[in-house]
């Protein structure tokens, strides 16, 4: 089985995708293509087996976002640049249930971080942020994501990863 990760294409088979989470399934089936090709707010990358190159086995979605400088509490803005804070939002990451536990998640997140580094090199960006389900916080923490304090106790946990950390992991 040779896994390839590439941009979502129009005729990819997504209707049978099931990661066990309805919002993540529905995003891929209903919104990913529109958001990527029609309104250009996020790009979805899919993992496929080269033997069945249309069947989506996992995916992640990246979008650019920024936090306006004036929204930060004044006490904390000293160390920040005098501009809005640009960041990459890893908006979704999911693996088909049948392929869970086979390293597909690791392949997806490492590709997401490589794409984020390229984006940062091209247009400038400090960090990557994701909303992690509570039961996935530990998984993201293994890759260096740090919880952003202050989230509601029941909702997803925002997590932060400095892109300098990712660059250091590449040994560059």
């Amino acid at each position: 089985m040779a896994i390839l990760i590439r941009r979502l294409e129009e005729h990819d088979e997504v209707e049978n995708f099931d990661c066990g989470d309805d919002p993540l399934n529905n995003y891929l089936k209903r919104h990913a293509w529109t958001n990527q090709e029609k309104i250009s707010i996020g790009v979805t990358y899919v993992a496929i087996d080269e033997g069945a190159p249309r069947v989506v086995l996992g995916y992640f979605t990246l979008a650019m976002a920024s936090v306006p400088r004036e929204t930060f509490p004044k006490k904390y803005v000293r160390g920040l640049p005098h501009y809005d804070l640009p960041l990459v939002l890893m908006a979704r990451l999911a693996v088909e249930r049948r392929f869970a536990g086979r390293g597909l998640g690791r392949a997806l997140i490492s590709e997401a971080l490589r794409v984020s580094l390229r984006a940062a090199d091209e247009v400038g960006c400090r960090c990557i942020v994701t909303d992690a389900y509570r039961d996935r916080i530990g998984w993201y923490a293994r890759y260096g994501f740090v919880p952003i304090e202050g989230a509601a106790e029941s909702g997803p946990q925002k997590m932060f990863l400095d892109l300098r950390t990712v660059r250091a992991a590449l040994g560059s």
Binding site: K75, G79, V129, T165, A169
Partner: protein
């Protein structure tokens, strides 16, 4: 030609503002100087639409304009479609002024005050954390 609405029901002084009488809606006089070509266009439209008065003409035009503005404010496009399915999108510069932001795609993240504090602390760190072993293995694989 002058386009003129109904006469004001209540006259006011030149620089004096008076509250309208209760129960008697105030009507505003509207006057416009039209070029001959525009004058002809108005007369032709009134004939085609069988509109008798300038007041009714203005009222209908206003209703159409208000609708167009409200649609563009919502970010909707105004499209005409022919019987064969050919579509044309109305691009009217003044209308575009009311919906500039909606045309721009964007991703919004909702932050609590404490999250912003935490994010600012993390993002302003002089040095980033070192990579974990798992991250190193993943990135170098």
């Amino acid at each position: 030609m002058q386009i003129q609405g109904k006469q004001m029901a209540q006259k006011t002084g030149a620089k004096r503002i008076e509250a309208p009488a209760i129960g008697r809606p105030r009507k505003t006089k509207f006057q416009a100087d039209l070029a001959p070509a525009e004058d002809r266009a108005v007369r032709l439209l009134k004939e085609e639409l069988q509109i008798a008065s300038n007041t009714d003409f203005l009222s209908d035009a206003l209703a159409l304009f208000r609708w167009a503005v409200s649609e563009r404010k919502l970010g909707h496009k105004i499209v005409s479609e022919s019987a064969s399915g050919e579509r044309k999108i109305l691009l009217f510069p003044r209308l575009e002024r009311v919906a500039p932001d909606l045309a721009l795609p964007r991703v919004e993240i909702k932050w609590t005050k404490r999250e912003l504090e935490s994010l600012a602390e993390l993002a302003s760190a002089r040095e980033a954390d070192g990579p974990t072993d798992v991250l190193i293995r993943a990135m170098r694989a």
